[in-house]
């Protein structure tokens, strides 16, 4: 059982997925996925391009219809999961394409991260925005700038910051290192590691296997729509089958 491998087996399970499958028309993109995340844990899903990592996150976030058992915060969820409902309950996704509001300032982008909490009657967005500025001082410098003019690294920070303003219980990150220079990647991963102190559970989808395995507690390897390996990240980091799944060194023709 995956959950028994966690760092802290007593922390409550935030997300538990059993036998999840997703199809595009007749094509099954994901099959029989089982995974779980506990509070304060970083779990990573690594795997080569096209394995279905982004599909997995989209399905969890309710952007794609999926079959299987999903319970979130101990609540079993029906088949038509709605993004708005999940956002209201603290699930956030930082998508691969970032999806920022390009013609709005950094500050307004962050503010909209608090939209749903504001609508639900909370008025603490200014404080949480300040906390985000503490985490990413660069965003404070760029506060008035339009999001569309930011560099790749700053965009990723803004996307993460915008998700944090929502005070998430589960933060899902899709390829946060995508297209970023090594130094920025370090900074981003350092931040991800530090975030767990707040108790948020993090599901990290990465192609950058080394960094992801280093920062995470547990990992799943996704290959052509199925989980082929799972275990504590430290063990997987030494497993030759991980490299094989990426570069195809196993088969010589």
């Amino acid at each position: 059982m995956a959950t028994e491998l966690g760092e802290n087996p007593v922390a409550p399970v935030v997300l538990d997925v059993r036998d999840l499958s997703v199809s595009y028309g007749k094509v099954e993109a994901l099959r029989g996925i089982n995974l779980s995340i506990r509070k304060g844990e970083i779990v990573t899903v690594i795997g080569p391009n096209g394995a279905g990592k982004t599909t997995l996150l989209s399905a969890l976030m309710g952007l794609l219809p999926a079959k299987g058992d999903i319970s979130y915060l101990g609540e079993h969820q029906g088949t038509d999961r709605q993004v708005e409902h999940l956002v209201r309950h603290g699930m956030t996704l930082v998508p691969e394409r970032r999806e920022l509001f390009g013609e709005m300032s950094v500050e307004d982008n962050l503010l909209l991260g608090a939209f749903d909490r504001y609508r639900a009657g909370h008025r603490d967005h200014l404080e949480t925005m300040d906390q985000v500025y503490d985490i990413f001082p660069r965003l404070l410098e760029r506060r008035e700038q339009m999001a569309g003019t930011l560099s790749g690294g700053e965009r990723q920070m803004l996307a993460m910051g915008r998700a944090l303003v929502a005070k998430p219980k589960l933060l899902m990150l899709d390829e946060p290192s995508l297209g970023l220079a090594p130094l920025i990647i370090k900074e981003i991963f350092r931040t991800i590691a530090a975030l767990t102190k707040t108790g948020v559970a993090i599901l990290l989808v990465e192609q950058n296997a080394r960094a992801a395995l280093h920062v995470s507690d547990r990992a799943y390897v996704l290959e052509t729509g199925e989980i082929s390996l799972e275990g504590p990240s430290k063990e997987l980091a030494r497993d030759p089958r991980v490299i094989e799944s990426y570069l195809g060194l196993g088969h010589r023709h």
Binding site: Y24, G25, K26, V27, P48, N49, G50, E96, G148, T149, G152, E175, S177, L178, G179, A181, P182, I185, K186, F189, R190, E206, Q207, N208, A209, R210, A211, A212, H214, I243, Y246, L247, G248, L249, G250, H251, R252, H253
Partner: protein
């Protein structure tokens, strides 16, 4: 067979109707016929081409007013006014099409709303067209020396012409240019890459639809013997669109069904609603509006497909006959350079997607382009194939610079591609989808198609498509709808379509994604065979087993730049490549 019987029964009923039906019904049927002509044009435009117009009534008006004016003021024979009316209509349609069709799909309908209103007020305010009172005393038509005067006589004329139009429309759609037109809805990008001039195809459907409306107007003027602006207003134009949506925008018979339903319903509602509401007025529009919303919510394809469900049709897709093979391109010598990309850079705003990229592909080799997500591989593909040209640098194909050419001009020179996200027309058969690939190998246009004088060429094109389908091992699926195939097979259909263009360079964007093991093996075999025949292949692929087993040379991209190049084994051992794929964080440093 049963459907033929039904059609025969329908035609017989049409032919015998006037012998038994009362005058009132004949008049109603005449109007249905005239409206169905306009609706038929809209089926072509909306249901098939994915465009729409609210201004068809204005084209009907041009047909009616041209003949009304020329026959009453200048005494021109009615049969001579028809070509004049058609010419004016074509000129207006070409102009409107030219200015709106190159932009987003909604500019045409907005343009036609404005045009419909302008023309209505113009008809009403120009003195020589009789202002709002209109023109009276339009002569009757004479056919072979007989005057067509009574409603019953006109009935035969209208319905014969309508059936002729239905036949020509069906012929037109079942042809080389017809496939191009059918690709407009949801397949413009693919069609351009296969060499289809999509703006031209759009202008053709819009003009043909306008001409049908004009013919209807010309007949209307001679049936009524009187015209005024009212029947050519925008609201009538909107009603034509309602007919098509209710009847079934995707089917030629939907036009007739829709014209019938709306016309009869209108008649009935105009009788009943004012009595029911105790006021006089055109209250039927309330019902029409609600009906439309209901149809669009519940039965988006209209009523005709619902009717078809009662009479399930047997597959009557075109069969392939033996035909002469098409001429083939002589492939360049093995080993000669086909494609040369030099220092290509592509910027999107501030983002550099391709930075100073160079690569070559030779005849008879498989070159693989690999790299992590977001490395800029698909951007490179789009730059080479002309879909999104480079910002700087050069692309040479067969020695000629092509970076400034459109996708269809590059396709014409012998480069053919597949897409990462399969772009097939799901409702069309595999055969027809592949035949789109052979578009540039035919010459006959839509006029030939309408008169069926292109059957020989069409047979050759379909034969060629069938050959490529067999070559790719999909013969058993030839007549199935492309959308019903599993994704893996759809990818192979994409390759067959690219091959139907008879290319010397094949660009394949992730051809093995979603394929099962055996399918991948078969694909590998096919590509090896093509390489052996002298084709150059440039391949973007993530499946490393597949790439490393097949490619002659590999180029690795990262951050839009070339990271490494060489033989598969060399690349696999390259530490920079390993780092690019697995991530470059140094573990000793804490990160």
């Amino acid at each position: 067979m049963r459907n033929r019987l039904l059609l025969g029964a329908f035609l017989a009923a049409l032919a015998l109707g006037p012998l038994v039906l009362p005058e009132f019904t004949i008049t109603l049927l005449n109007y249905i016929g005239l409206y169905a002509m306009v609706a038929l044009g809209l089926v072509l435009l909306t249901g098939v081409g994915g465009l729409t117009s609210f201004g068809q009534a204005a084209f009907v008006g041009i047909g009616a007013y041209t003949t009304a004016y020329l026959t009453t003021v200048h005494g021109v024979s009615p049969w001579l006014t028809l070509p004049a009316a058609l010419a004016i209509t074509a000129a207006v349609a070409l102009f409107l099409g030219f200015i709106t069709l190159r932009m987003g799909g909604h500019y045409l309908p907005l343009g036609t709303i404005a045009w419909g209103i302008s023309l209505y007020f113009l008809f009403g305010n120009v003195d020589f067209l009789g202002g709002y009172t209109g023109i009276t005393g339009i002569p009757a038509l004479s056919l072979l020396g007989l005057e067509v005067k009574s409603g019953r006589e006109f009935y035969y004329l209208i319905w014969a012409m309508l059936l002729l139009l239905v036949l020509t429309t069906r012929n037109l759609l079942d042809s080389r240019e017809g496939r191009a037109i059918r690709a407009l809805k949801g397949g413009s990008l693919m069609a351009e890459a296969m060499g289809v001039n999509t703006p031209r195809a759009k202008i053709i459907v819009f003009t043909v639809a306008a001409l049908y409306a004009c013919l209807s107007g010309w007949l209307y003027a001679h049936l009524q013997r009187f015209v005024n602006p009212t029947p050519f207003s925008l609201s009538q134009g909107i009603e034509f669109l309602f007919m098509v949506v209710v009847g079934g925008a995707g089917h030629v018979w939907g036009a007739i069904l829709g014209a019938g339903v709306i016309t009869i319903l209108k008649q009935w509602l105009q009788d009943w609603l004012p009595r029911l509401l105790g006021q006089s007025g055109n209250f039927e529009v309330i019902v029409f509006g609600l009906l439309m919303i209901l149809v669009l919510h519940r039965a988006r394809e209209g009523l005709w497909p619902l009717l078809l469900r009662l009479f399930p049709a047997q597959a009557t897709r075109p069969r392939v006959a033996e035909a002469e093979p098409l001429a083939r391109r002589t492939l360049p010598d093995n080993g000669s350079v086909l494609l040369e990309v030099n220092n290509a850079t592509k910027r999107f705003g501030g983002l550099v997607a391709n930075d100073d990229m160079s690569l070559t592909v030779r005849a008879g080799e498989v070159m693989a382009l690999i790299g992590p997500n977001g490395a800029g591989k698909t951007t490179m593909f789009n730059a080479i194939s002309g879909i999104s040209p480079v910002s700087s640098g050069e692309v040479r194909f067969l020695g000629e610079r092509v970076e400034g050419l459109t996708a269809r001009d590059i396709a014409r020179r012998g480069m053919s591609r597949t897409f990462q996200h399969v772009r097939l027309l799901p409702a069309m058969s595999v055969l027809e989808n592949v035949a789109i690939g052979a578009h540039l190998r035919g010459r006959r246009n839509f006029l030939h198609a309408a008169c069926r004088t292109e059957r020989k060429e069409e047979a050759c094109l379909l034969h060629e498509a069938a050959l490529q389908i067999e070559r790719c091992g999909l013969a058993e699926h030839m007549y199935e709808a492309a959308g019903s195939l599993p994704l893996g097979k759809q990818r192979i259909v994409e390759i067959a379509r690219a091959l139907a263009a008879d290319p010397c360079l094949l660009l394949l964007d992730e051809p093995a994604a979603g394929l099962r093991y055996l399918e991948k093996k078969a694909l590998g075999e096919l590509l090896r065979r093509l390489r052996h025949e002298g084709m150059g292949i440039l391949l973007v692929e993530h499946d490393m087993d597949f790439v490393m087993g097949l490619a002659d040379r590999v180029v690795v991209m990262e951050f839009g730049q070339k990271l490494a190049e060489g033989l598969p084994e060399e690349v696999q051992r390259n530490p920079a490549v390993l780092e690019a794929y697995l991530g470059g964080v140094d573990e000793h440093d804490g990160y």
